[in-house]
Amino acid sequence: MDNAFEKKLALSHFWVAFVAFALACLMGAYQMLERSGFFKVIESREVYYASVSTHGVLMGFVLTTFFIMGFSYYVAASSLKLPVWNKTFAWTGFGVALTGTVLAALPLLGGAASVLFTFYPPMQAHPLFYIGATLLVVGSWFWVASMIIMYMQWKKANPRLPVPLAMFATTANAILWLWTSVGVAVEVLFQLIPWSLGWIDTIDPGLARTLFAWTLHPIVYFWLIPTYTAFYCLVPKQAGGFLFSDEMARAAFILLVVFSLPIGFHHLYMDPEQNHGWKILHAIGTFVVTLPTFITGFTVIASLEIAGRLRGGKGLFGWIAALPWNNPMVLAIILGLLMLIFGGFGGLVNASYAMNAMVHNTAWISGHFHLIFGGTTIIMYFGIAYYFWPVLTGKPLYSNALATTQLWTWFIGMIIMTTPWHILGLLGQPRRIDSVNYNNLLTLSWEPYEVTMIFGGMILLYSAGLLIYNLAKTQFYATETYSGEVEYAEPIHKVTDLPNYLNSFGLWNCVIAVFMLIAFGYPILQFFTMETFGSSTWGF
């Protein structure tokens, strides 16, 4: 099996993802310069908000969805040793998602969808934006179906055998995404599209925000699972060792899927439409979801230690120095874990009901988000890209040195940009503002941080350029050939027999259904039963 079709499919998805990424990086750099107030010539509220909205959509929805789909198709084919199920179906999903992206881009670039990449009425975008976003999600559902079908095909052919861990994680992500996308899909289909088309006159923002909160938290785990898949299934092999525990990895993925869903209300801590009791319930759930991250931190570091010691590392920390730091994937995980430590600390602040009040809607949130998503999650996407590119293109990576330079500059740029961003939040700078000049004394204290952020952002822009250059050079200019395949890490203790609950999702889907009913049942139902004034629930 040469996987030629799968390689083409994965590469097509990856290129859409990275082109979106490159455009979004340019916009990010512009936004930072515009917002700082140092460059009067580029100041424009309209352009700024159109740019922020497009930047967010490209990074948060296009880069992630396409990258995850491409990555998963190839992981499924290579780990199960099965061809991708129904080629036309897979390309149709790609086409629908791409059409959605283009449709949404039109109003975004024209300034008619400057709603800051969220779905929060009463901010209203052009209907094309909502329709495009829906198509992007619908396209991704084709991928969900493909993954679940391939998983079932393999299970049927190999009853009682453990599903390869990489595919177990990928299927977990597909199931997570299906559950996750229901909230925003219901909001967009029943509220935002009819409202933006003028079919209904009123809308209930409380219900809309609750439905969006359903999606808003687990979506970040949808983005994160490929990163964790690489942590568990690819990195230990690249580092020259073994996975510390296959069972622990499965438990972490299951916990991630189950507990990332019923906890979205930490986005609504400062909102009036939900009662404190529900918020506290979700707050507790938010702390539970840190558990799989701690398991991951432990297992992955243990796996790296095994590798370091096998490579001759001695003493308490000698194994760290013995790791292959020049391997892009190993370097990406080391830098990613460092950012996870900082970002995770910030996340605990956000998750805490009381402390959240101090940082809610301040620049702290944007700083946190960039560090944990743009940092930990995305740097591993780069690591994956450097590892997959030679496999997919059949050509060796243009430059390993350039790849490690890129990862280092991304890490350094991200730290330089996000540290002052967090501080600005603590100094009272609101998030989502196009100008920081409305109070002399306060903004004077912000200026040094703004300058530092620009410096960090420019390093990030340079780093993004290096990534695209290296990938393009590899694919389009290399003359040598490469015939390697993706190699998955073996667990130190081979898994031959697994209890059914660690090898299937039936039970967990039932658990999720119960949790979602508890966490979102009444909070959604109340909008249909309570007396409201002036705004009807679905517009009737």
């Binding site: 509220r45 309209e46 006159d201 009123t202 000049n437 409305y438 002399n440 002036g534």
Partner: protein
């Protein structure tokens, strides 16, 4: 009893302050009503208006506003405010009271459908005005004008009026009226609280700035 009378006297200003700035509330029904205004009917009714506001809704009388291209919601609210005495001006108050609610919506639809006024690009630079429009003034807690009236000065929903191309004398008169409380149909005193901090020189500059903006 004395205490009661005293209490009643002290509460009197409260009842005065409790008068709303306008009787128009933007419910979905109200918005749909304005949206459904018939411009053709409005055109017929506008015969009465043409003398002062111009045949194409562009006024050549300095103190009289041009109405062409204005937001229909703004025009509807102003006429309703004249009818309800939330806004007062001898001629307009008398004329508005002859109109039905439907007439008001039709007139609003007609004037909103006309191409807006534009006088000429001015070579003058209105630095003070431009600073207020783009940055406001944090010392006086004035937000930038363009935050509400939009950076092109075309206004925005629901009923923030467009100012670009409007004649300067009318704009200056209105800002002064807001400043001295003569005009008081702005919800939450939004314009009154801004205008009361503006100097006459700033009012004049702002008026010319918007008149020369396309």
């Amino acid at each position: 009893m004395k205490k009661f009378i005293l209490l009643a006297i002290f509460c009197l200003p409260l009842t005065a302050a409790a008068q709303p700035a306008t009787q128009v509330a933007w419910t979905a029904e109200q918005l749909n009503f304005v949206k459904a205004g018939n411009p053709e009917k409005g055109k017929e009714l506008a015969q009465t208006c043409n003398g002062c506001h111009g045949v194409s809704g562009i006024s050549s009388m300095p103190g009289t506003p041009s109405l062409a291209g204005q937001l229909p919601t703004y025009l509807y609210k102003q006429l309703q405010d004249y009818i309800n005495a939330s806004r007062e001006q001898a001629v307009m108050s008398a004329l508005a009271k002859t109109l039905s609610k439907q007439d008001v919506a039709d007139l609003a639809a007609w004037f909103a459908s006309l191409p807006p006024a534009f006088q000429s690009n001015s070579p003058m630079v209105y630095a003070k005005a431009e600073k207020l429009v783009k940055n406001g003034d944090n010392q006086r807690i004035i937000p930038p004008c363009e935050v509400c009236h939009a950076s092109n000065g075309h206004g925005q929903k629901i009923d923030i009026p467009g100012l670009s191309g409007q004649n300067a004398e009318y704009l200056a008169t209105m800002l002064k009226e807001f400043k001295n409380g003569g005009r008081h149909n702005d919800i939450y005193s939004r314009m009154r609280s801004i205008a009361e901090t503006l100097s006459d020189e700033e009012i004049a500059e702002l008026s010319f700035y918007y008149q020369s903006k396309k």
